[in-house]
Amino acid sequence: MPITYTVGTLLILTALGYLLGRRKAVTVAGGNIASLHSVPSYYGSFSALWVLLPTISLVLLWLALKGPVINWAVVDGMAPEAVLGWANASIPPGELEAVRARVAEGAGALTDIQRQLLLINITNLAAGQAQYVNPAVVDILRPAAAHMQDLRSLTDWALFGICVSLAAAALFITRGKIGPAFRARNNVERIVTFLLIICSLIAILTTVGIVLSLVFESLRFFTKVPVTEFLFGLQWSPQTAIRADQVGSSGAFGAVPLFAGTLLIATIAMCVAAPVGLLSAIYLSEYASGAVRNVIKPVLEILAGIPTVVFGFFAILTVAPFIRDMGAAIGLDVSSQSALAAGVVMGIMIVPFVSSLSDDVINAVPQSLRDGSYGLGATRSETVKQVILPAALPGIVGAMLLAVSRAIGETMIVVMAAGLQANLTANPLASVTTVTVQIKSILVGDQVFDSAKTLSVFALGLVLFAVTLVLNVVALRIVQRYREKYD
């Protein structure tokens, strides 16, 4: 019984609930609809909502929990002999001793990684993909795979049964409640309002989800690597060896070079974006005629709408070679993945962002201040430099902070145009790496979820999230206070 059938059945029952509820209401009204508290369709909706909401929540809950629960049941239900048999064929001899010693506990003898490996094997077998499994363990794992299949079909059927009974109960109870005095509309509206609240809570849930997933995985990382080493270490080389006897097996997780690289590229980006964006905004709001504004603003919006992956390609296709050739022409050795190229392109990407934010801020400066300045015989540029910009300063600072946060969190441009080597340098012509580049390069391709290397990604993500969050909160607060001043 696949989930889709369960959901289909529930939808049919919901429609049925609507029809039955409505008909019951019409019947009890006895031809005098006006005697009902609400319009008959509200009685239908009342029944339908009570059929649908509890059951569909149950289905969603089960969909979310099904995987972990079944996996746990299957692995823990394995006989010790089967675990040992699998371990003999799949685990390096060095680790086998530990498993043997504790084999009486069954799967409890395995480490997390071993457990994951075992699960992958069982899941593949259960899915009928025996070709992906080591032939030596196929027969040992057959019972577990069968167990998994049984559990899956059993739980799916159980879910179907529970849902249908719940729906039937809801149908029966709501039918009993429907009478002329029953306030169906108020009840329905209460449920709908409740649903609206749930939807607006999703924003909070998302934040909580981000914080939880980052914090938990980061904590696991910090049990392997001390926080101080991560935050203040000067050496970043996350390559941990697969076998313990390999050279450089431990890896180094000092993230300072990444922070420095991120800051270097963000600084270069702001050196491009801040003056260009601010000056364009000033020109557009103080000098340009309406016709010019109507052309330039959409052009800047197009620039803002271009995906960052396109800017990344632009960087490697055009800007990086150009900068390298320019450097070569004046005798400088420029890396083909120079921070300069990535920073400049990122700056171009942020220009419309800075310009539109600054434009808003500058337009919020009251016209009376401009009049006051012009009335004293100031030129436009004097008015801009000595009255408008000082008045708009807090707003502009806020806008710049938002732009910095944007630059720090930007991924694709640096992934494509910046390097992987964690160099601690302030030379814009050298290759540096950034937090986002490391997150991407470590995660894409590597799937064992226990090594310090993969976990380090979440610590980096946490730093990234925290820094951008602080920047945003501060910036938004500054901008908001600035707005209030001139409202």
């Binding site: 009376s368 401009r370 009335g375 015989g377 100031a378």
Partner: protein
């Protein structure tokens, strides 16, 4: 427009020389005509009040006198306005210099979000009236004294101008205009946002300023016009209906529209 032949438009009453004069001034906002041809002279060291019902064009006319209308894209001015006989709409004439000579005080007090001191020296600094610290100090003191604000703010010159009360802010704006040492000061309903006591202060101040400056004031308030001005011009629906000695206008108006307005039949 031939400015050479019209350098000195004939004064209305021939006794005083005209500091500024307007001949056939028409103002358009896009297609709409806001002023239909205004002729008026403004004499040195006198206060000219512009009165009339709202929307009559008096503020528009005031803004043509130092070309503040330039900041509005769709606004177009026809006719001749002269300052000391020179056409102020002559393309060769410099608008920045013009505004330094013809200063302006606005309806709503609009001090810059800077200190009182910086508000005052903003203009003098722009126009190079002074270069040394003590020169600036002197300008600040003198301007604030002239605006009758010195005693109230002399101990807090470095505090923001926006922290003052409404009346004080408006006097600060007047001080700011005076500091540039203009020849003419235009005031656009300078008291409309102020309470009666602050208004009385400003009116007194206007009377004192007349000694050194030529003043044109737009006002809604006829008593105010009567109190502060020597001559009054009555505007109605974009026309200048009547201009003359204030006393005459208020006691013996020639036009019935003027009479209707000052007796309160409309406005």
């Amino acid at each position: 427009m031939d400015t050479q032949t019209m350098t000195k438009p004939a004064a209305e009453n021939g006794t005083k020389s005209a500091k500024m004069s307007a001949r056939g001034v028409k103002v358009f906002y896009g297609e709409k005509r806001a002023l239909h041809g205004i002729d008026v002279d403004i004499y040195e060291n006198e206060v000219l009040a512009l009165i009339g019902p709202s929307g009559c064009g008096k503020s528009t006319f005031l803004r043509t006198l130092n070309r503040m209308n330039d900041t509005i894209d769709i606004c177009r001015v026809e006719g001749l306005i002269t300052l000391d006989g020179a056409d102020i709409y002559d393309p060769k004439l410099d608008v920045v210099q013009l505004r330094a000579r013809v200063g302006m005080v606005f309806q709503k007090p609009n001090p810059f979000p800077k200190s009182i001191y910086e508000n005052i020296i903003y203009g003098p600094k722009l126009h190079g009236l002074a270069t040394k610290k003590d020169e600036f100090d002197a300008i600040v003191e003198q301007s604030l004294k002239r605006a009758g604000l010195w005693n109230e703010v002399k101990d807090r010159l470095m505090e923001p101008g926006t922290g003052l009360s409404g009346g004080q802010q408006q006097r600060l704006c007047i001080a700011r205009a005076v500091a540039v040492s203009p020849e003419v000061i235009l005031m656009d309903e300078p008291c409309s946002a102020l309470d009666p006591i602050a208004t009385a202060h400003i009116e007194e101040l206007i009377d004192e300023l007349r000694e050194n400056f030529t003043i044109v004031i737009v006002t809604h308030n006829m008593q105010q016009a009567a109190r502060v001005s020597q001559r009054t011009a009555f505007f109605h629906l974009g026309d200048l209906v009547e201009v003359g000695n204030t006393e005459e206008i208020f006691t013996n108006p020639r036009d019935e529209r003027t009479q209707g307005y000052i007796t309160g039949r409309y406005g």
